[in-house]
């Protein structure tokens, strides 16, 4: 089991009020799954994402990642987890604007202490996987939205992480470009990656193989998607 969440609670203090963002959450995700997490604003899906991504720790309960209890880790260890096991993809790409694509992709490896030559090699490979070998020296400002997201995905892939965690990855893109990105995720899933998608759009969630609905800090439903529909969706895009 890749991810196991047991009886998880997360509370915040906001303006002297105690907010229960997540309550009694239980969740399991296997290796190579493709999961979409859906929920309205304030449902706690962002909080769940932060905890899954080791950006935050639960107030109560356990978060086991590859059998390691992440909830008890200190700040440095959490940073190491994010560096090696979590590949973030954000809605706004979050690339460093003054650096080349190659540099952006190399960054997680810099923090891992990987040597220059190996770093470059791995970054180039990652960019190849997302189809951007011809854009390695370009800065984000010289790239289209879709290309920027690809760079971000390459950066997420470069450390061979346990999961790809995508937060509204198509939110800043037009439909066509968004579809291209979803095709890319599909390809990466077929290559063996575990993908967790956070979205509020049903259309996007339909690309995944399992959808979890969150409401009021608790899991409302957790069902596999119809595999036929998923395949149809992909084929429709590929043929275009």
């Amino acid at each position: 089991m890749l991810i196991e969440i047991k009886d998880l609670y997360k509370n915040y203090r906001m303006d002297n009020v105690e907010v229960e963002a997540l309550k009694a959450l239980n969740l399991q995700i296997k290796q190579n799954e493709y999961v979409a997490i859906m929920g309205p604003s304030g449902s706690g899906k962002s909080t769940l994402m932060n905890i899954l991504g080791c950006l935050d720790t639960p107030t109560e309960g356990q978060y086991l990642f590859k059998n390691v209890d992440v909830s008890t880790l200190d700040d440095d260890s959490l940073s190491a987890m994010r560096n090696k096991e979590i590949g973030f993809v954000f809605q706004n790409f979050n690339l460093l604007p003054r650096m080349s694509s190659l540099y952006n992709v190399e960054m997680p490896l810099m923090y891992a202490g990987i040597h220059k030559t190996e770093r470059r090699e791995r970054a180039l490979k990652a960019l190849e996987r997302v189809g951007l070998s011809d854009r390695v020296d370009h800065r984000p400002s010289e790239l289209s939205g879709g290309q920027r997201q690809r760079v971000a995905i390459a950066r997420a892939l470069v450390s061979n992480p346990g999961i790809l965690l995508a937060d509204e990855p198509t939110g800043a893109l037009d439909t066509k470009t968004g579809d291209e990105i979803m095709l890319l995720f599909n390809k990466l899933h077929q290559e063996g990656n575990t993908i967790i998608l956070i979205t509020h759009e049903q259309e996007i969630a339909n690309f995944a193989h399992r959808t979890i609905h969150i409401r009021d800090g608790m899991i409302h439903s957790d069902k596999p998607n119809d595999p036929i529909l998923v395949t149809q969706k992909i084929s429709a895009l590929v043929s275009r």
Partner: protein, 412 residues
């Protein structure tokens, strides 16, 4: 993160915001430049002072005949004092312990002629020991010696300046000059001497290059004093064995002179070494003040860095969030920003050093103020700038490191 990578990231940050980085550095630049300039002015002053006093002899006590008007001279003579005399010198030599050498000199100012050239010069009658007491150097030929002295020979040694005026570039050795209507043979020439332009104690400043030395015995034989009331000699220079005893010995000398001059105050006793120490003390206060000013400006520079860095951290909140999300630890973020602060202050330090050195050299070039740049001052100023960078970069860096990744990433 690897160290060199850190530096590259920091330098990148600097270059990306050239103008702002420069503004940040200004305080450091001026602080460092002023430290160096002020230290070099101080050092220059110190060296000038030492040179000045070395001329007079650090182990010397100089007794000078006071310049009195005729009325004053009459008064003093009436009270039995004959003024400074060879006898005084003799007594000092025999009676006062710790005295190494005693040299006497008499002076008059007159015209010196050679062929069609003429120069106004101070003729100094001296005892052969003279050259060993005072910091003067022979250029060519030989100095007045025992033989010249004992035999009252009419020989002279010319100062560099007067030699040039009378002989231009020709060799004066062996030639004759006319001093006050008497012919003297030139046996030596002095090396050129830098003039000290300030009065030391009661010793007036003068240009020693216009002096001509003759044996004191010859002087007394050949030159008659215009004023019969004048003292026999104008100066006695006493050299002591050890500078620790200077004060002690000068008190003894004063005692001797007091008795011999019947309590008349017609001489002055100057101890160059004591004057040097006095000046040193004054200078220390001055240097301290200058140092304080420079330190304050460095401090201001540091505060400037801190402010700019605090603003920079705020602006780069998003970037910091991204770095943290992809695995940067708090220490990674801290070292990035401290390195940036240090990079700013080191660059500022280097510019400041260049500015400070140029300033010092310019000051010497266009004014009379001496400067002397010592290597330690460069390292000191530079070292301080690094320290400032680290200290004032620390707080902003800590702020940056403590930002919560979740919030930072969403920061607009």
């Amino acid at each position: 993160m690897q160290f060199e990578e850190n530096i590259r990231v920091a330098l990148r940050g600097l270059i990306d915001h050239k103008f702002r980085s420069f503004l940040t550095m200004l305080g450091i630049i001026f602080g460092v430049a002023s430290v160096i300039a002020m230290l070099s002015i101080g050092e220059g002053a110190k060296r000038s002072a030492i040179a000045k006093y070395q001329d007079l002899g650090v182990n010397n006590i100089i007794i000078r005949d006071k310049q009195f008007s005729d009325e004053e001279l009459e008064e003093v003579r009436a009270k039995f004092s004959q003024g400074l005399s060879l006898n005084d010198a003799q007594v000092i030599k025999e009676v006062v312990p710790g005295v190494l050498r005693v040299a006497s000199q008499a002076e008059l100012t007159t015209d010196v002629k050679q062929a069609d050239k003429s120069a106004r010069s101070t003729i100094i009658g001296i005892t052969p020991d003279y050259i060993r007491l005072l910091n003067i150097e022979l250029g060519k030929g030989s100095f007045i010696n025992e033989d010249h002295y004992k035999r009252n020979l009419k020989v002279c040694v010319l100062g560099a300046g007067v030699s040039k005026t009378l002989f231009q570039h020709k060799n004066p050795l062996g030639k004759m000059v006319k001093i006050d209507d008497q012919w003297f043979e030139v046996v030596g020439i002095m090396k050129s001497k830098a003039l000290f332009t300030e009065t030391v104690g009661e010793l007036a400043s003068r240009d020693m290059n216009t002096d001509i030395y003759v044996p004191l015995t010859t002087y007394m034989n050949r030159f008659t004093q215009e004023n019969t009331l004048s003292s026999e000699i104008q100066q006695i220079t006493v050299q002591v064995a050890s500078s620790d005893k200077l004060m002690e010995i000068s008190e003894l000398i004063k005692g001797v002179l007091q008795r011999h001059h019947f309590n008349n105050d017609d001489y002055s006793v100057v101890i160059p070494f004591e004057l040097l120490k006095q000046e040193e003390k004054e200078r220390q206060i001055y240097n301290f003040l200058l140092g304080a000013i420079a330190a304050i400006s460095l401090l201001v520079g540091g505060i400037g860095i801190m402010n700019i860095m605090l603003a920079t951290v705020m602006e780069r909140t998003r970037e910091i969030g991204i770095r943290r999300a992809i695995g940067a630890r708090k220490t990674d973020i801290m070292s990035q920003f401290v390195t940036e602060a240090v990079a700013i202050s080191i660059t500022g330090g280097i510019i400041g050093v260049i500015l400070g050195v140029s300033l010092s050299l310019t000051i010497t070039l266009i004014t009379d103020v001496e400067t002397y740049i010592r290597l330690y001052s460069v390292f000191l100023a530079f070292g301080f700038s690094v320290l400032v960078g680290i200290s004032f970069g620390y707080l902003p860096a800590k702020n940056a490191a403590n930002l919560k990744p979740i919030d930072s990433i969403r920061y607009e």
